[in-house]
């Protein structure tokens, strides 16, 4: 298999995955949690089974509107946990709600989160700034250690991963919180790591290649040389993430899911996008020189 000769197929696969997500991003957007929009989440555990309707009646009775309904988040040995999302509650409303719910059954407050609308806006802004800042610094570093065009190719591959993850989260309307931002940035770090290892091998092979060897063959050869490593590494990371997903508790599910899709996308884009894109950029450069 020749990775570079088949590159149109790789691009096509990427587009097939990205475009539906992109359309969904523009039409449905992301399912933003209270970290972004502001609001209130109350998670409670009843020590005895309590039906959803009862909880709903209590909340409605207080004149509090739920924003995304009431969600049963767990059930174990007759204990049930509920997630109640509402608009931002005043301290008094929050206290009343807890008091009223406590009357249904013995109840424990697992968590109660209140986020004002300003914080959410800042989070989004900071996340975008961080992403852009990281991308610029990475391009600079790669330009110093490798070359500018490789920096660009690497960043395009990163953009690919961000779009894949954001697209999938938009398509399935999975609610995202502030850890999603951390996940995206980790994915960026991971994917760039993968790409650099391959670029490093290309850099080395370019030094020793024969005069008549085509660039695409050198790249392809380098990709094959690093393939075992690429696969083994992504496998070990997937081991950890799968363990975290199934045993790690509900609070980090979204985070782990984002990482899982991102790491897989990152491994793919490092092999099938970054180097082929660099090759195309190089070809354009040659064409310009000849013209």
């Amino acid at each position: 298999m020749h990775f570079i000769k088949l590159r149109k197929i790789w691009y096509l696969i990427s587009l097939v995955i990205i475009i539906p997500g992109l359309i969904s991003l523009f039409t449905n957007g992301l399912n933003l949690g209270i970290d972004f929009t502001g609001g209130n989440i109350l998670e409670v555990r009843f020590e005895h089974p309590v039906a959803v309707e009862k909880v709903r009646r209590v909340i409605a009775g207080l004149g509090i509107e739920t924003s995304r309904g009431i969600q049963k988040s767990g059930q174990e040995n007759g204990k049930v946990t509920y997630l109640i999302r509402t608009k931002t509650l005043s301290q008094e409303e929050s206290a009343n709600l807890q008091k009223a719910l406590g009357k249904l059954s013995q109840m424990t407050v697992l968590r109660n989160e209140y986020v004002g609308p300003i914080i959410g806006r800042e989070l989004t802004r900071n996340a975008l700034l961080a992403l852009i800042g990281a991308a610029i610094l990475m391009v600079i570093y790669i330009t110093i250690r490798f070359e500018f065009k490789q920096g660009i190719a690497a960043v395009i591959a990163l953009l690919h991963d961000v779009l894949v993850v954001a697209g999938i989260f938009s398509l399935f309307q999975i609610e995202i919180d502030s850890t999603f931002v951390a996940a995206i940035l980790t994915i960026v770090g991971y994917s760039i790591n993968d790409t650099i290892v391959i670029f490093d091998r290309i850099r080395e092979n370019l030094k020793t290649r024969r005069k008549d060897e085509d660039l695409e063959d050198t790249i392809n050869f380098s990709l094959w040389q690093t393939l075992t490593r690429s696969i083994n590494t992504v496998l070990t990371v997937i081991f950890v993430l799968v363990a975290l997903y199934f045993f790690g508790g509900s609070t980090i599910h979204t985070f782990v899911l984002a990482l899982l899709t991102g790491v897989i996308s990152g491994a793919y884009s490092s092999i099938c996008n970054a180097s082929p894109i660099w090759f195309d950029l190089k070809r354009l450069e040659l064409k310009e020189k000849l013209a």
Binding site: R111, E113, I119, A130, T179, A243, G249, T251
Partner: protein
């Protein structure tokens, strides 16, 4: 020579196992003194998400010219005094930006009420009948809750500063037969009639308290002083202790599973070098634990995830070097030469790759807040330590194993 190397291996093996026991295993329960300090991992600060507590972001309200750095300092001081009164161990109070404070309280019984009390302005005023403010909270020296032994009513005893006492004496002398109201944030607490001049510098707020606890909370507010500005809560996250313990438990379990999967994979695929890498990874985990203890860093849920990911990267570093090592072996180099060549070539790739990831971690640290920061810090520490252990430990261990002459067959190296 060989015997010497074998002894070194055996010694090292013992040291690593001991370090592992000391750092992570709960084997010291029987001994009281040891149990207090060991295993080391127990001494790492746990974040609110892992032990329960409340995280609040408080913002000073008002036009920008009113929120001066000085005012923020005062605000912080008052809030610190109040928090201290709750007896919370190691509270975190930090300024963020120009008008925000982050307050984190762990292991507190009624976090929401505590927060309610922290953000009260607590502006105390003594007013005469013609609504003139004659004394304020600034004139107070102390405020204590107490029970009136005669009537069994709960009250708060106030003690004035010397200046306040003089003022109070004058005011009471001038208002005999009239009332002096005591107001907190505009709410009338009590409105007693002055019977005679009070030179003692003492007063009390009586009636209106339902419990000693309520009086206690109000006394705290009064003696810690009023907030210099109005504040609002921008963000408040309360994690119950049961959820915290649950998260800690589950992520430890998940971490262990992931770790075991990685170790099995490394052993099966890379055989002897894999075994060496497993030891290097154990050392890696111990060093990260020590760095965490040394920096007094706080471990959070995202931090645990970052630790596991950085473990993945440490494994990756080993994988890159071993793959390289195998390639060099295939070209017919001797074991020793292949190790050196593998490390030399592998390191260039590892270094560039890790530095770019480190850039992401640094950016994340500076732009992120709260949980994101904990994540970035752990990732950063993890990357640095993994570079160190891979290059020093793995390499040294591999050399040691090869030099011992125990494993000459190339099959051991997975080629």
């Amino acid at each position: 020579m060989q015997k010497n190397k074998m002894l070194q291996i055996a010694g090292l093996f013992v040291v690593i196992i001991l370090a592992l026991l000391v750092s992570f295993t709960p084997l010291f329960k029987s001994n009281e003194f040891l149990n207090k300090h060991l295993p080391l991992v127990k001494n790492i600060n746990l974040g609110l998400d892992l032990r329960g507590g409340v995280h609040v972001v408080i913002e000073a309200k008002g036009p920008p010219e009113e929120i001066t750095p000085d005012k923020m300092k005062q605000l912080r001081a008052v809030i610190e005094r109040r928090v201290d009164q709750f007896g919370v161990s190691e509270p975190v109070i930090q300024q963020q930006g120009s008008r925000r404070l982050i307050v984190e309280l762990a292991g507190i019984k009624n976090p929401e009420e505590a927060v309610r009390n922290i953000v009260k302005v607590a502006n105390l005023e003594f007013k005469t009948e013609d609504s003139k403010t004659v004394l304020t909270g600034a004139d107070l020296k102390d405020a204590r809750e107490a029970k009136d032994p005669a009537s069994n009513k709960v009250k708060v005893d106030l003690t004035f500063t010397p200046l306040g006492a003089r003022k109070f004496a004058e005011v009471t002398a001038a208002n005999v037969g009239k009332t002096i109201g005591i107001y907190l944030d505009g709410r009338l607490l009590t409105n007693p009639v002055v019977k005679e001049a009070i030179p003692s510098g003492r007063a009390e707020i009586s009636g209106g308290y339902e419990s000693l606890e309520e009086a206690h909370n109000e006394a705290i507010l009064l003696r810690s002083g009023a907030l210099p500005v109005k504040v609002g809560i921008e963000e408040m996250r309360t994690v119950g202790p049961s959820l915290g313990a649950d998260s800690l438990d589950k992520s430890q379990q998940a971490g262990l599973m992931g770790l075991i999967a990685i170790l099995i994979f490394m052993l099966m695929y890379y055989r002897l070098p894999g075994t060496v890498a497993v030891f290097a990874l154990i050392i890696y985990a111990i060093i990260v634990t020590l760095v965490f203890l040394g920096l007094k860093a706080t471990m959070t849920l995202p931090g645990i995830a970052a630790f596991l990911l950085s473990l993945g990267m440490a494994v990756d570093t080993n994988i890159i070097i071993f793959e390289r090592f195998k390639e060099e072996l295939r070209t017919g180099k001797s074991l020793r030469a292949a190790i050196d060549a593998g490390f030399k070539r592998g390191f260039a790739a590892v270094f560039d790759a890790q530095v770019t990831t480190l850039i992401a971690a640094i950016i994340l640290y500076f732009f992120g807040t709260g949980p994101v920061r904990g994540f970035a810090l752990t990732l950063g520490i993890g990357i640095l330590v993994s570079l160190f252990t891979a290059v020093t430990m793995t390499r040294w261990l591999l050399h040691l194993v090869v030099d011992s002459g125990l494993f000459k067959n190339l099959k051991y190296y997975g080629t």
